[in-house]
């Protein structure tokens, strides 16, 4: 009982700090649900008087937001699927197998972990132009497959798996691919879940690369689309916040569904992403 009384001030401080952090999100949803005349009220009202879905109806009718959301799901989804396959394969080889050049290759991968992504922006733009992939979906997806966080994550995890099962499978005549497919992949599920969540979130939220690579607004992912809404609706904050809300909801839902993987991901992989 006394411990609750002692801890109460701590809870109050933490809840206030959490509330402050969450407040912009609350304000975003509140503005999106407010009738226009209340949005520009002096003083603004923190507790709503009246809610409406009118902004949402207008957003879906006047902007390609649905198209942008579908684009984002496709782009982030394809990048995530390829990362799961390729990074678990490479992670397995780097963690468990011996081959000439392995250390040099892994050292090269790790040495680029702290390179700011914008450093490669201009050369990647040139390469995509050379390949004729500017303003195409593959042009956005391919550079997304090159980030090395996943290789590192999978290698670290697969290293901790026992080797006996692999040996046993080989003795039973399993091919190398079967060892990977039927031993390594099932055992790596926890790490694959973390990798999937992190990669999907990263490319759901990606901005500068698609901004530079894509020209056609119908190909935009939702973040680039949102930025163009700002030019279109300028000071119509009701509409801007509604667009932002629609982009926020899927990520928030993913977070609530996979909280454990998010937190685990930070512990394994750090705050990157």
């Amino acid at each position: 009982m006394s411990s609750i009384r002692q801890r109460l001030p701590v809870h109050v401080v933490l809840l206030l700090a959490g509330g402050l952090s969450l407040f912009p999100l609350y304000w975003l949803f509140l503005t999106s649900l407010s009738p226009t005349q209340y949005v520009v009220r002096v003083p603004p009202e923190i507790v709503p008087r009246e809610l409406t879905g009118a902004n949402y109806v207008r957003l879906f009718e006047t902007t390609p937001i649905v198209r942008w959301l579908v684009n984002t799901v496709v782009i982030a989804g394809v990048i995530t699927a390829f990362h799961l396959l390729f990074d678990s394969m490479a992670g397995y080889a780097f963690a468990k197998r011996r081959f000439p050049g392995k250390n040099v290759m892994f050292w090269l991968v790790v040495s680029t972990l702290t390179v700011p992504a914008q450093v490669t922006l201009i050369p990647v733009f040139f390469i995509l132009r050379f390949l004729g992939l500017l303003d195409t979906y593959p042009g956005v997806i391919l550079p997304g497959l090159a980030d090395v966080f996943g290789i590192f994550l999978m290698k670290q995890f697969i290293q901790t798996l026992p080797t006996e099962l692999e040996h046993a499978a080989r003795v039973d005549g399993a091919s190398e691919w079967q060892v990977y497919r039927h031993i390594i992949v099932p055992l790596s599920r926890p790490a694959l879940a973390v990798l999937a969540i992190f990669t999907f979130q990263r490319y759901w939220n990606a901005f500068i690369f698609p901004l530079v690579i894509l020209r056609d607004p119908s190909k935009y992912p939702v973040q680039v689309g949102l930025a163009t809404l700002q030019g279109e609706f300028n000071t119509d904050y009701g509409m801007l916040m509604t667009g932002a809300a629609v982009a926020a909801i899927p990520m928030i839902a993913v977070f609530f569904a996979f909280q454990r993987q998010f937190i685990e991901g930070i512990r394994i992989g750090g705050v990157k992403g």
């Binding site: 999100l25 975003l28 002096v42 000439p100 700011p116 497959l145 949102l226 937190i263």
Partner: protein
């Protein structure tokens, strides 16, 4: 001689492939993508920074791009803004993460789960979306939320993002006012694995909770602190979306111009790829210096 050497080499290549083929096959897809879209671009970025590359091509001009940058007041402003933002924001983030994680630490496991989720939830959204909300909060009108909040204590209204003096302050505040959830999670994890013995010894000496925190917890967390310093500083150096959205990409009189914002506009609005690549090299150098300096000081703490 050549004729006899060739088949032997081919045989040994076949042997290498038989022995290691699967390994290379496993590594090949991701490593080749990494080479084409990360490794080569890093090298090509260095090469481009020495050329006057424009939309129509370019030639080698030595260090002229870097000389031009050193004399360019806008670039110097961008570096200054970026470093100022990084210094203030990273200092605040480390402090807030440490304090919040320390407050969570003595609570029960269910409280841990709850608070970690609470502090991480605001961070799952994109920088674009977050910047849009802050633009709305810091808008110059009296119905802007920041102005209303300050008017209750008799301050303002301020122009915020509409003013060359206050725009960068608004951008910095927008970052500082969010608890860094990733740092909280990492500090919490690190605190959970600190050795109990030191605390028991301190209890015997009658140390206060604060002095235990100050003299045991904080020093033992040094590796986590250094790691977070490196990661948060490098992330802060990449500041772009916030200024792109909050202040239309640079603010009044370039008040909020940053290195990445300037790379973007120099390359993709003005087509001066060589000059922009030189800026990227400077950014790369800054990140490298931070990483090296901070990992050096991490190594030095083995002497403890």
């Amino acid at each position: 001689m050549i004729a006899t050497a060739a088949p032997r080499r081919r045989r040994s290549l076949a042997a290498v492939l038989r022995r290691y083929g699967w390994s290379y096959l496993f590594v090949f897809p991701t490593f080749s993508l990494f080479v084409v879209f990360t490794l080569l671009p890093v090298v090509q970025g260095l090469v481009l920074s020495l050329q006057n590359a424009r939309v129509t091509g370019g030639e080698f001009i030595g260090l002229a791009n870097f000389e031009a940058l050193a004399a360019d007041p806008v670039f110097i402003q961008a570096v200054g803004n970026t470093v100022l933002y990084a210094t203030v924001v990273v200092a605040a983030q480390i402090t807030l993460a440490l304090v919040v994680a320390s407050l969570i630490q003595p609570l029960g496991p269910r409280a841990h789960v709850f608070y970690r989720a609470l502090f991480y939830l605001p961070l799952v959204n994109s920088a674009i979306l977050v910047a849009m909300v802050w633009r709305w909060i810091f808008n110059a009108n009296p119905y802007g939320l920041a102005n209303t909040a300050l008017s209750t204590v008799g301050l303002g209204p301020y122009l915020w993002i509409g003013s060359s003096d206050q725009a960068l302050i608004a951008v910095i505040l927008s970052a500082v006012l969010t608890i860094p959830g990733g740092g909280v999670v990492l500090y919490s994890a690190a605190m959970g694995s600190l050795p109990r013995e030191l605390y028991e010894a301190a209890d015997l000496d009658g140390a206060s909770p604060f002095s235990k925190w100050r003299h045991i917890t904080v020093p033992l967390l040094r590796p986590t602190t250094l790691y977070l310093l490196v990661i948060y500083t490098i992330l802060a150096f990449q500041l772009f979306e916030r200024v792109y959205i909050m202040t239309n990409g640079g603010g009044p009189n370039n008040a909020t111009i940053t290195i990445v914002q300037l790379i973007y506009s120099t390359a993709f609005q003005f087509g001066r790829y060589g000059l922009a690549s030189a800026m990227a090299v400077v950014l790369f150098g800054m990140a490298l210096v931070v990483a090296v300096v901070q990992f050096r000081s991490l190594r030095s703490d083995v002497e403890y």
